[in-house]
């Protein structure tokens, strides 16, 4: 079987580089098999593993209703249909690029300017990350990435590019902050294994930590990369999810303040999937200060351009500065309030989380509930959370975290009531765990679950790691 597989498919298509065979997805499968619903399925699995921003759609929907001209399908906008439908220039609609540049400036409090000519489209941030990697590194070369990091980096940066990721270890001893020592250690390790390092990828605000990098950290990263003459990529996809002090500082600002830094080494990845909550529209943005990279990335963008229908809608929306101002303020406030509710609820049951001011999730500390300070124990605890508490959260191991016991918990993809239910389930679990009752119960459950999960693995239907198959659109339309 393996032999004929190798014959039919390429190595890339046959290997695990897509990352979807990770146990990480078992939680998703459990959710898909039994999704929570307040009335129809109150004992189902609550999805807290999906970093989506669903808190401010009402604002967007109102804007869409009031601006029919933004759609090329309405009576008001249809005169534009033909021009929009035939436009396939990979520079993108000028009004789209301008609006995106302006929006990015606004998110950064107008402290920096973005040149629309440097804005390159891509198939989501997923596409932007891969494209940038293709532009900056050759197969066998490496990028440094601080841990814990977004799991799909493995797929996006390495799968088809042949580039490797070298982790920069961060741990809780200093709140998971990235240190110069850690960077140097990672760089040295790569050199020792004869691997050429081409760049450093930062995620600011951080997924999964929910923290922001301050000016000092960004300057340190900038000087480190300049010294080594390697690239600095900043994924700022969560930039508008910052809801509290310390506020967001973009690499763009630090670069503007560093006349000695080499701009040819600096690149920003962005998307509208998190800040606006539009993952379905596939709006990825690559912004580079390096002309050759802009040029090359633009040619590569042919492989993942943004639909002009979407460019048109968003160009209108983002150009409406009254709307964007209101949206950014409201969204941040709602995210802040929701996170506070989650963290306070956790604190009340003695569960801590890393202090953070951004993101759609918090980094929950369950080290005290581990049977041992090992990743096996973390996996065991995770199974209990999924099977007993019926909540899908993401274990730290899936983020390559160096210490066991941390879990990412998302809070912006549900309503308040669901979160209250989730909190009460966690509370029960914590109590049970502490009293040791859970240990016996989960032994019985796990053997049942292992059988059913392994059965599911044999199924040919692969679940998407993105949106679950139980999206209302799929349910009603299949």
């Amino acid at each position: 079987m393996l032999g004929s597989q190798e014959h039919i498919l390429s190595k890339i298509a046959s290997n695990d580089g897509h990352g979807e065979n990770s146990a990480f997805f078992d939680g998703w499968k459990a959710y898909d098999a039994d999704p929570y619903h307040p009335t129809k399925n109150p004992n189902g699995v609550i999805q807290m593993g999906l970093a989506e921003n669903q808190l401010s759609f009402d604002l967007v929907e109102e804007w869409v209703r009031n601006n029919p001209k933004a759609s090329i399908c309405t009576a008001e906008g249809a005169s534009q249909f033909k021009d929009i439908a035939i436009f396939q220039d990979y520079h993108g609609l000028p009004e789209f690029r301008n609006a995106v540049a302006r929006f990015m400036e606004k998110v950064r409090g107008d402290r920096v300017r973005f040149d629309p000519a440097r804005i390159v489209m891509s198939g989501g941030a997923t596409g932007a990350q891969e494209t940038l990697t293709f532009c900056l590194a050759d197969p066998g070369e490496a990028l440094l990435v601080p841990t814990p990091y977004y799991p799909a980096n493995d797929r996006d940066l390495t799968w088809r590019t042949g580039v490797e990721l070298v982790p920069v270890i961060c741990d809780s001893s200093n709140g998971f902050r990235m240190t110069r020592d850690a960077l140097e250690a990672a760089y040295k390790a790569a050199l020792e294994s004869n691997t050429a390092v081409k760049g450093l990828l930062l995620n600011n605000p951080s997924n999964p930590l929910g923290t922001v990098l301050d000016r000092e950290a960004l300057s340190m990263a900038l000087s480190f990369t300049n010294e080594k003459n390697i690239h600095l990529i900043c994924d700022e996809i969560y930039s508008a999810t910052v809801f509290a002090e310390p506020g967001f500082v973009s690499i763009a600002e630090v670069l503007a303040e560093s006349p000695d830094a080499n701009p040819d080494l600096v690149h920003i990845v962005y998307s509208l999937s998190k800040d606006l909550g539009f993952p379905g529209f596939r709006v990825g943005i690559l912004y580079s200060y390096n002309d050759a990279v802009v040029c090359c990335a633009r040619k590569m963008s042919s492989f993942g351009l943004v639909s002009t229908q979407t460019q048109r809608t968003l160009a209108s929306m983002l150009a409406d500065e009254e709307f964007t101002q209101e949206f950014l303020a409201q969204s941040a406030a709602r995210l802040g309030a929701r996170r506070a509710a989650l963290c306070q609820g956790l604190a009340q049951m003695g569960v801590g989380s890393l202090e953070g001011s951004a993101g759609l999730y918090c980094w929950m500390d369950l080290r005290r509930l581990l049977k041992a300070a090992t990743f096996e124990a973390e996996a065991e605890l995770w199974r209990v959370i999924v099977d007993d508490a019926r909540i899908n959260v993401s274990p730290g191991a899936s983020f390559h975290c160096a210490e066991p016991g941390w879990f990412r918990v998302c809070f912006a993809n549900m309503d308040e009531e669901t979160m209250r239910v989730a909190l009460s389930r966690i509370s029960k679990l914590v109590v049970q765990r502490k009293s040791g009752e859970a240990a016996r119960k989960q032994c019985r459950r796990r053997s049942k679950l292992e059988i059913s999960l392994s059965f599911r693995r044999l199924e040919e239907i692969m679940m998407s790691p993105h949106s679950p198959m139980t999206s209302p659109l799929v349910r009603t339309m299949t």
Partner: protein, 458 residues
């Protein structure tokens, strides 16, 4: 320094003449009123003939088009929908549309369809799935210039040409295929498959059953893949003449072969919607579907667009009507160009599909060489004011052929283009007939055409 080899190299192919002609057009684009002496774009294979049909559908179906279902807004669900399996209603509608175009002689299981951001992404993704860096695919020449980028650039896969010539109307022969395979072996390249475009770009012809069967026999014998890019399938003037590769498979009763034949499709040509980035891969092999689906993460179709198109294509009455009407308009427009060219002594390859003609200008070359073809091309771009695509940019084995598009302009503009060609041919016909003064006259033309200090006086 510090960027990758891919970024530094030229294999994106965009320095080829195909794209340079575009650049010249961009500098001086024709416009009926504001720039009537500008360059007419005939290098762009776009279908602009049937937008009115889509526009009137939209006007008649406001709810379907504006993110509403049963009067309720579904904006939010669409905005959140990023499942790489695609919107089921869209895949179903697309599968049915593809079947409709093939006269329902083939059915496509939506579960075997992978959605991608355009055929550009579909082709690249398939190559990533089927070949390793350094492997090769065989392609009949002439072929779409974009393949050099789409199939080779980031994948590291090579293209080895299957040479086709005008001796037999550019048809694919067994010997040409075998020769290409041998050439690949000589270069130490492992051949992973054959990729055909059917109907052909730039030829505008549908592949015959004979050609399709010989290709199937070949890939069967070698145990390799066959990719059929059927992006122009809806542009066949007479639907009865199109045979999709998928039609020929059931009779062969060969499941292994069936698993190695894959179809690429897109709505950019048939529906004229290149901006929407709608492409797809169809494969009977679930492993290929699974791998391609995962890769489609790098270029999914906007959910907003999937929804709009599912509404349009699910209207089967409309879809059927559109396909028939669109075909007829393309056929008529094609006839205008062919007859216009014939009147000035220029013939085209007899064709039955596509958005372009494959035009024979060999008799206008000063010599049978690439230089002469480029010389003629520059004349046509700068003196005649038409951007057409030289055969060399399509890797044609013979000099003097040009691809000329007809579906991306009004009929008036096409008439003007034909008049310009007539003036051009009339002005140089003395040269054609007079051997003695030939070199003198040619050099007079050539000296006016220095590429770098050309002043665009049109």
């Amino acid at each position: 320094m510090t960027i990758s080899k891919k970024a530094a190299c030229n294999s994106h192919g965009q320095d080829s003449s195909y794209f340079l002609g575009w650049e010249e057009y961009e500098k001086n684009p024709f416009h009926e009123s504001t720039n009537p002496n500008g360059i007419i774009q005939m290098g762009l294979a776009e279908n602009q003939l049937s937008f009115d049909l889509l526009e009137s559908w939209l006007a008649a179906n406001p709810d379907a088009a504006s993110f509403k279902r049963d009067g309720q807004s579904i904006f939010r669900e669409l905005a959140l929908f990023q499942d790489y399996h695609g919107l089921p209603i869209f895949k179903n509608a697309l599968a049915q549309f593809m079947a409709e175009i093939r006269g329902n002689k083939v059915q496509f299981d939506p579960n075997n369809l992978v959605l991608t951001a355009g055929a550009t992404s579909a082709n690249e993704t398939l190559i990533f799935c089927l070949a390793d860096p350094g492997d090769a695919f065989l392609l009949p020449t002439p072929y779409y210039p974009g393949f050099d980028r789409d199939l080779k650039w980031r994948t590291g896969v090579k293209i080895v040409p299957i040479q086709c010539t005008s001796r037999n109307g550019f048809r694919i022969t067994s010997s040409a295929v075998e020769e290409a395979y041998k050439l690949a072996q000589k270069r130490n390249l492992k051949v992973k498959g054959v990729l055909i475009t059917n109907p052909s770009n730039p030829l505008g012809i549908t592949l015959s059953r004979k050609e399709l069967n010989l290709l199937l026999n070949f890939v069967d014998k070698k145990g390799i893949h066959l990719i059929s890019d059927e992006i122009y399938s809806g542009t066949v003037f007479d639907s009865a003449e199109f045979v999709s590769i998928m039609e020929l498979l059931p009779n062969r009763n060969n499941p292994q072969l069936m698993n190695r034949v894959h179809v690429v499709y897109s709505l950019s040509k048939d529906l004229g919607l290149p901006g929407f980035r709608v492409g797809s891969i169809f494969s009977n092999d679930r492993l290929v579907v699974a791998a391609a689906t995962k890769m489609s993460s790098f270029g999914l179709i906007s959910s907003q667009t999937q929804y709009l198109l599912s509404a349009i294509l699910s209207d089967h009455v409309f879809a059927k009507k559109y396909v028939a009407e669109n075909r007829m308009r393309l056929r008529n427009r094609h006839a205008v160009l062919v007859s216009g060219l014939r009147r000035v002594g220029i013939s085209c390859l007899e064709s039955n599909s596509g958005l372009f003609c494959w035009v024979d200008m060999r008799h206008l070359l000063s010599s049978d060489s690439l230089e002469a073809e480029m010389e003629l091309w520059k004349k046509v771009v700068y003196d005649v004011g038409l951007n057409i695509s030289p055969g060399s940019s399509c890797h044609c084995a013979e000099h003097g052929w040009f691809r000329v598009c007809f579906a991306n302009m009004t009929e008036d503009t096409l008439d003007l283009a034909i008049r310009r060609i007539k003036s051009f041919v009339d002005s140089i016909s003395p040269i054609k007939n007079c051997r003695n003064s030939r070199s003198k006259s040619i050099s007079k033309w050539v000296s006016r055409l220095s590429f770098h200090d050309r002043e665009c006086d049109r």
